[in-house]
């Protein structure tokens, strides 16, 4: 599992990366009430705003951590957005991406570094 400074996590699975927001990010957002997911097949670039998460507090943009193609999205969370609060780093995953450039991974944090990052 790798973590970004944007409070996303990535986990490699069968040649694609599963992406979600961290437990810490979910706690900061508060109760999530709405998620707008990208479309499967979308080609995205690193740092594109590809998801909007609305919590009881505000709307937050989620950036793509990598260049690539969206291969799957977690459709059930659109109807049950609180899954993101309940299991941010498990069932609350957001999308899967097949990347054309895995080099940013080298700059992402491991769990220990992320824990330090969030203090």
């Amino acid at each position: 599992m790798k973590y970004t400074e944007e409070h996303e996590w990535l986990r490699e699975e069968d040649g694609v990366y599963v992406v979600g927001i961290t437990i810490h990010a979910a706690e900061q957002l508060g109760d999530v009430v709405f998620v707008e997911l990208p479309d499967v097949g979308d080609t995205v670039s690193k740092d594109d705003e590809i998801i909007v998460i609305e919590s009881v507090k505000a709307a937050s943009d989620i950036l793509s951590p990598l260049d690539g193609e969206i291969t799957e999205v977690n459709t059930p969370i659109a109807d049950e957005p609180t899954k993101i609060n309940e299991d941010a780093e498990g069932d609350g995953w957001l999308f899967k991406i097949k990347t054309t450039d895995a080099s940013p991974l080298d700059d992402f944090m491991d769990e220990a570094a992320y824990k330090k990052f969030i203090g």
Partner: protein
């Protein structure tokens, strides 16, 4: 000195922190926006049992004098003279343009009036009253906390400490002795639920709060849930939904102006902005505050421009409050639209992140109110 250092704290600040509240700046105070329960559960708990809110940041003011009710009528469009002893009513300070300087609660407590005004406006309100009500003594109460206990279990909970509270009806006020000093009660609130607002001496505020929180029915509730509760109840947030450039008629607050202050009434006019406000009562206003129900799950938040169609270039209105309603399980908003788009059922579009999302003008409250009449 940072902005953080300028923020005031209520007497219950340490208790909020102890309870795990997340504190945020609000109207010049550091206030709890949520507790560990979270906004959604706090909201639902208030609707299902009882929620306790610290609203000590609000202004508590006593007006004394020869005839404080008649004096106050010079700066509010309400009938204060007709307000019976032991009763409270909703009021508005208006400006010369007919706009709203603040909304407030006015209580008749026999030989004086007791007012509760918004935190963000209280300094201006007090200066305004001192300037305009020269025959009155304007006494600012700064040694009392103000709590709101709201929800269907509020009566049961409060009556354990103050049995007489059970005998009060919606908008009754009372002064009573208790184990927590002299309490000033009103059966009112700002959530759409039955409940009370309780002014308690600072020296007893923490003990009183702890006594309520020790009860199974009662949870502490932050500003986040207070906002979604009042919005579901169709109630205005001063500064968002009403302000110096919105009139009572535009704001759909006609019910708050009694007949006797309107054209043809015995004490018609005689308050700031009366010409415009009374003319709007006769002829209507060009825009109106309405309820709005967006399609789908995405909240349509304050500032969202509203359009009559997908293609229209000029907005016909704007959202002033918007959130997700935990009890109605859907997003809800209120805002102003031109009068020709204000009819319930009118289909409009809100510009959310560059996309026109369908939204329908809807009746308020969004969630039925449960006042004890």
């Amino acid at each position: 000195m940072s902005a953080q250092d300028d923020l005031k704290r209520t007497g219950l600040y340490d208790l909020h922190v102890e309870l795990g509240a997340k504190m945020v700046p609000f109207a010049g105070y550091e206030m709890p926006v949520q507790y560990p329960l979270g906004v959604m559960k706090e909201h639902l708990h208030t609707r299902n049992a009882a929620g306790l809110f610290d609203v000590s940041h609000m202004g508590q003011v006593i007006l004394r004098g020869e005839n404080p009710a008649l004096s106050l009528e010079r700066i509010v469009p309400q009938s204060v003279l007709a307000l019976a002893e032991g009763r409270q009513r909703y009021g508005l300070f208006t400006n010369d343009d007919g706009g709203i300087l603040d909304d407030l609660m006015i209580a008749n407590r026999g030989d004086h009036l007791f007012l509760v005004v918004n935190a963000g406006c209280k300094d201006a309100d007090i200066a305004h009253m001192r300037a305009q009500l020269t025959h009155c003594e304007v006494e600012v109460i700064d040694d009392r906390a103000l709590l709101a206990l709201q929800g269907p279990a509020a009566e049961t909970a409060l009556a354990r400490l103050v049995p007489m509270a059970a005998n009060m009806k919606f908008m009754d006020v009372a002064i009573t002795d208790s184990d927590f000093g002299e309490l000033w009660l009103s059966r009112s609130g700002y959530t759409g639920e039955d409940g009370y607002e309780i002014s308690v001496p600072d020296a007893h505020a923490e003990a009183f709060t702890r006594a309520l929180l020790a009860m199974e029915e009662v949870e502490p509730i932050g500003l986040g849930a207070r906002d979604s509760l009042r919005l579901e109840a169709g109630l205005c947030l001063y500064g968002n939904d009403i302000g110096p450039t919105t009139t009572p008629v535009e704001a759909a607050l006609e019910w708050a102006v009694q007949k006797i202050r309107k054209t043809g009434g015995e004490r018609a006019s005689g308050f700031p902005g009366a010409d415009r406000i009374l003319s709007e009562f006769e002829n209507g206003a060009s825009r109106r505050r309405v309820g709005l129900l967006p399609e789908g799950r995405a909240p349509m938040r304050a500032g969202t421009d509203l359009y009559a169609s997908q293609e229209a270039e000029t907005p016909i209105g704007q959202v002033t409050s918007g959130a997700f309603g935990p009890s109605i399980e859907r997003p809800m908003s209120m805002g102003y639209v031109t009068i020709d788009h204000a009819e319930i059922g009118t289909n409009l579009f809100g510009d959310v992140r560059g996309k026109r999302q369908p939204v329908t003008v809807a009746d308020m409250p969004f969630h039925p109110t449960a006042y004890k009449r």
